[in-house]
């Protein structure tokens, strides 16, 4: 039966996350963007909500909640509405946890999942993007070659969130032309974490370039063991997460511009009383809703374990454009005031531009 109502439980989680976004993230996000740091308190509060650990089975020390991509996208949208940098930061461990949870060997689960069930935020991450314009997750330049009982990784990665503080990094590399994941523990020789990156947006999120130089990991660190992983599914879970975040960012910008347009007076009436402004807002509202519903459909398919590459790719594609247009309009509607950093629309504009580039940087 077609339905667009979240379950009561989902609604509760959404409300909780929205509250957190309003009370915590929205209080500090501008400052964070300016100084490139997120207060530890916010990170710990988010961690306390159990957004990462709730789906880890009890046998590994988690809460044993159901793993749901749909619930995940609902959360991701709210968090990103609060602030994209912080959203990516607090969800970053999922980049490591979810692939292990879904596709890891028993040994991998036993070894790693309990690390994320503690009371304190524990960082882990994944390295997918590579520093080249025609980066393709299915044709990576980073390679993994089998050598006796280990794999040797070589290549360069970028846009790796929280790499410096991560306990372990899931590095995606091409093994005989196929993308596979490899767990690289902190401090593994040959893993070089470079300086923190400087980006146009998501400035409060610490991202890094990595170099892998003959970085050797034991054979059992291959995600999923001999079976390997279903990389396509992981990509799809990432696509819907990012698309949901794009919706959150677009909504933040849209709401701000809408409220501003109702109070800003020009030529004797609120600028929102002119169709040129009102229609930009109306169209943005329509596109935000449309994108959200497409995200839901793709997420629903992923929960049903259906092949969703088409839907997930389409919504990511759509969301990348939508968020850019929406945040551009946010700036436009505020005019010159949108261009100065006293208002947040320029921040959302910079963050919004990132989505076409972001790949594998969030996962639900």
């Amino acid at each position: 039966m077609i339905s667009f109502s979240p379950t009561e439980e989902q609604q509760m989680i959404v409300n909780m996350v929205k509250q957190f976004a309003t009370d915590e993230m929205r209080k500090v996000y501008r400052e964070c963007d300016e100084n490139g740091e997120i207060p530890q308190k916010v990170i710990e509060t988010a961690w306390g909500l159990g957004l990462v650990s709730s789906c880890i089975p009890e046998s590994y020390g988690g809460a044993g909640g159901e793993r749901s991509v749909l619930t995940g996208v609902l959360i991701a949208e709210e968090l990103a509405w609060g602030d994209l940098s912080m959203a990516m930061h607090v969800l970053c461990p999922s980049l490591f946890v979810l692939p292990i949870l879904e596709m890891g060997t028993e040994q991998q689960k036993k070894k790693y999942l309990p690390l994320f069930c503690g009371a304190k935020f524990t960082a882990a991450t994944a390295a997918l993007v590579e520093p080249k314009f025609n980066f393709d997750p299915n044709a990576l330049s980073t390679t993994a070659s089998k050598n006796g009982d280990s794999y040797v990784l070589n290549g360069e990665k970028c846009f790796v969130p929280l790499a410096a503080e991560s306990e372990a990094i899931l590095v995606y590399a091409a093994e005989d032309g196929q993308t596979q994941g490899f767990i690289v523990d902190k401090g593994t020789p040959g893993l070089e974490i470079k300086e923190r990156e400087k980006n146009m947006g998501i400035k409060a999120l610490a991202t890094y370039e990595l170099a892998l130089k003959d970085c050797r990991v034991p054979r059992e660190n291959r995600l999923g063991g001999d079976k390997g992983c279903d990389f396509n599914r992981l990509l799809n879970c990432s696509r819907v997460a990012l698309a949901a975040m794009a919706v959150g960012v677009a909504k933040a910008s849209y709401e701000y511009a809408r409220d501003y347009a109702k109070t800003r007076v020009a030529f004797g009436e609120p600028i929102a009383s002119r169709q040129a402004i009102a229609f930009m807002l109306a169209e943005t509202a329509i596109e935000i809703d449309a994108t959200r519903l497409m995200v839901w459909e793709a997420a629903w398919m992923l929960d049903k374990k259906m092949e969703a590459t088409r839907e997930a790719s389409l919504v990511k594609f759509y969301a990348d454009d939508m968020v850019m247009t929406a945040t551009d309009r946010g700036v436009q509607i505020l005019g010159g005031h949108g261009y100065v950093r006293e208002h947040p629309v320029e921040l959302w504009f910079r963050n919004g531009r990132g989505f076409a580039t972001f790949d594998g940087m969030a996962m639900v």
Partner: protein
């Protein structure tokens, strides 16, 4: 629970609609596009058989998805299918129980029968409050005078069957919206004449006519809803609003029509490309896609976006949730998306797109109407804008 799974019954009726579209609409699509005012008699008879499957109209998710299938077949022929149509929707939304029974019973009978709705006049379309058609009470009757244009199925409703038209008229011009009321004029009523049948860009199998009312007398209780209009309260626009609420039910259906036409074009493009060995590589990053792949993905995502908005709007209606905002959202999006998708299809297919040998060029012509009737794209955008801004029509003109 958020769910996108159709029930088995829904699936069955949608599949049946698709089959009907494929077997009985597509083969005659071109013919009735090129023989504009010819009546598709055989087709009409065939569509009578569909009533057991829930008919052409209806307001739930399955009904909307059936409309999508029929319009995938042919939007003009879909509008030629017998049924209460927009007139029926208006009766349903504003009529009393007795009126609904009295006026809609005929649509369950064995003879084909149509319904129409007449609002637009030569001097006003979007600005519905400016209509000049009048209804004056004389004893136990209303006397209607005026001219309505662009009445969909007007000829079939008034001349070719025992149908009806819901006519909008003012009982007090000075009262503006408060004075506007819907009246049911049945086929065969003296004083109503079908004039001019339009020749159109598309949906040619659908008849679009002018109705002239010249001292047309109808029974007093053919006014829909409360007949208490002896004194018009100028601040009471509730009747008007209620009738405008008909649009909340019909706009998602127009969206479904648009989506059906869009999908016809999209399917054709994909089939053609497939035959030529072109595959759309969905998982590929943007930078690596060909321009053609990008175009197709753009079309497909536009289609999806519109469809999701449409489904939400009809779902809300089926849940008895107010959906004024959502149905206008769906209508704007679907109207635009179908227009763009079909235009792009013609472009992509080159000579195959432009040639009348195939149906793509027709779909492009058909699609455009969805951005115009039942409130143009701009008018629906206004509805959305006023809603999201919480502005009155004075605050946002």
């Amino acid at each position: 629970m958020i769910d996108f799974e159709l029930s088995p019954e829904e699936k069955t009726t949608i599949e049946a609609a698709h089959k009907f579209a494929e077997e009985f609409m597509r083969p005659i699509s071109r013919y009735y596009d090129e023989h504009e005012h010819e009546e598709p008699e055989e087709f009409i008879q065939k569509s009578m058989g569909l009533r057991s499957q829930g008919g052409v109209f209806g307001l739930g998710v399955a009904a909307a998805l059936r409309v999508e299938e029929y319009c995938w077949g042919d939007a003009g022929l879909m509008l030629a299918m017998p049924g209460p149509g927009l007139g029926g929707a208006a009766v349903f939304a504003s009529g009393t129980r007795e009126q609904i029974e009295r006026f809609l019973k005929r649509y369950g009978e064995d003879k084909p029968c149509w319904g129409a709705m007449a609002m637009t006049e030569p001097h006003c379309g979007s600005d519905t409050a400016a209509i000049n058609t009048t209804a004056v009470r004389e004893d136990n009757e209303w006397v209607i005078n005026g001219e309505k244009i662009f009445v969909t199925a007007g000829k079939r409703a008034m001349e070719k069957s025992n149908g009806l038209t819901v006519v909008w008229a003012t009982v007090d011009k000075t009262a503006g919206r408060a004075g506007m009321k819907p009246f049911v004029v049945e086929a065969g009523t003296p004083g109503v004449k079908v004039e001019k049948q339009e020749k159109k860009l598309g949906i040619r199998a659908s008849d679009t006519v002018t109705l002239v009312f010249d001292n047309c007398r109808i029974p007093f209780d053919n006014i829909l809803g409360s007949p208490e209009v002896r004194k018009v309260d100028k601040t009471d626009t509730s009747g008007f609003k209620k009738a405008m609420a008909t649009f909340d039910a019909t706009r998602p259906i127009i969206a479904a029509m648009a989506i059906g036409v869009a999908r016809a074009a999209l399917d054709f493009v994909k089939e053609t490309l497939e035959k030529e060995g072109v595959k759309i590589r969905y998982g590929l990053p943007r930078q690596k896609l060909t321009a053609l792949e990008r175009d197709v993905m753009e079309m497909e995502s536009q289609y999806k976006a519109a469809k999701m908005l449409m489904l939400r709007a009809v779902w809300m209606m089926s849940q008895f949730q107010p959906n004024n905002l959502e149905s206008s959202m769906a209508k704007v999006k679907a109207g635009l998306a179908a227009t763009r998708i079909t235009q792009k299809a013609v472009e992509i297919l080159g000579p195959l797109g432009y040639s009348r040998k195939y149906l793509v060029e027709k779909w492009m012509r058909d699609a455009k109407i969805n951005d115009i009737f039942e409130g143009t794209g701009q008018i629906n955008m206004l509805v959305v804008a006023r809603r999201i801004l919480d502005f009155t029509r004075e605050q946002l003109k």
